[in-house]
Amino acid sequence: MLLLIARRLGLGLLVALTVMTLAFMLTRLSGDLAISIAGPAATQADVEIIRKAYGLDRPLYVQFFSWVGRAMVGDFGQSYFFKDSVANLIARRLPITLTLGLTGLSLALIISIPLGILAAVRENTWIDRGVTMFTMVGQAIPSFWLALILMIVLGLNLGILPISGTGTWQHFVMPGIVLAFTAIPALTRLTRSGMIEAMASDYIRTARAKGLSRARIIFKHALRNAAIPVVSIAAVQLGFMLGGSIVIETVFALHGVGYLGWESIAKNDFPVVQAVVLVLASIYIGLTLLSDILNALLDPRLRTG
């Protein structure tokens, strides 16, 4: 088991390294960084000074390895725009994104699991069709547009929630709802299909042949098996939600990591862009590992040989 975890960590590291390479190449795609940092009004001399100051005159591979080497120990360099260390910036912004992500995930699970169960046990009734329709609608609503509508309805018309900013817990309600909506359709359908599959299985037929009550059949025998993929995928889903929070943070002016990413892209602040990509990727990698471990713990077939 330890060996396997070690192997998975190794794989994760390799993935992270690949992502770093890609992120580095990405920021070099735009041509001469010194020129874009210096801005349109700069003279040739200004550009040269900037090039030296940021170490951009060194060969690409030297720049790359020096960045990788320092990133390994948590030093992502200095932000050009914010005049602060990138590590500090991210450390300050990350809690906000994590709060948002966890709020969104919790809301999504609270809504989608009961809905999925309900649809499954009422398969092919109007309740099931209603739930399916709800998931289709949820999948089709653009999240930024939903955010704007909530702002108009909850913020302006009803005036019960703040429209944007980071100050209080109320500021997380609307973004949390919008983020939850990005995961609810998938999680609901997964719960539903898992439950339908379980309810049609041989062991549920056995449970019925044993004369067990309907509640026990649904909530003990079927749900336990249907929940395994849902729980393990929830972890992966959180990774996707953190990655997708950039749009929502930007709309609500929530100063998390995603917002930071958007700002730094707009400002050509490439050390920050690189670091944000890397941090989000690392979180995702960690969550997939967690998901695999959860899966193994929940499924006795994987737990015991």
Partner: protein, 292 residues
Amino acid sequence: MSEPIAIQGPLQAPLTSRVGMTGFAIGIAIVGIIAVAALIGNQFVPHDPFTQDLGNRLKPPFWMEGTQAGHLLGTDQLGRDYLARLVYGARISLLIGIMTVITSGVIGITLGVLGGFFGGRVDDAVLFAITTRLSIPVVLVALAVVGLMGSGLGLVVATLGLLLWDRFAVVARATTMQIRNLDYVNAARCAGASTMHLLVKEIVPNIASHLAVVATLEMALAILLEAALSFLGLGVPPPLPSWGLMIAEGKDYMFFSAWVIMIPGVALFVLVLGINLVGDGLRNLLGSERLR
């Protein structure tokens, strides 16, 4: 590697319900109407989507008071005809959706089928590529590419195409693995068929229906992502009327004239819903509910 997608056997009896088929029909109708509008709609709209008319700014659509005759859906903040822009925007959305699906489909299906069929080292490499791709935050990277390289329709298509192949690869790989050891593939091998024949004639036709479902999902996703990128100002450049960009441009006026974001938003929603209904119909036809 956790695979969020599980697939039931391709040989399962089709499970069709009348209700499911109604959705399928509605979906095809929606996508069909929008496609027709995108192709020839501009013939029927008396305005140009780019002509500004600053004297007629923010005129509301026909069902509201103060509407302007001739501008069925009103005008935007620069007095451009909203209907004309909406029709032009449909063209952009569909173009992006289709081009992205083609690009990402070619990449993803090739990787997935090869990994699933050959297994071993090839599969390790494919799996690594998929894992790496999944760990990259799509929106951020797409924004960064467009932000750093300059915006443009072609660039958006290329970026999304290179980023959205993961689900094609995962599904193609999983279904191929299921099929590659079935006895009809073994029988074809024993019949002396070439590897190319096995891949193209025995495997791909049997996973094609699953891939068609993925294609609808990816098309919907690409359209939504393009809208999001344009909304954030790093997608299709103005004055092209992408629906996402129309929402972004209307954002400043939404508290007073909510319709400026409602009209392009609803259009986006209906198109994506239509595509999803088509996908769901296909899925019902296949009886593979877990193919998300």
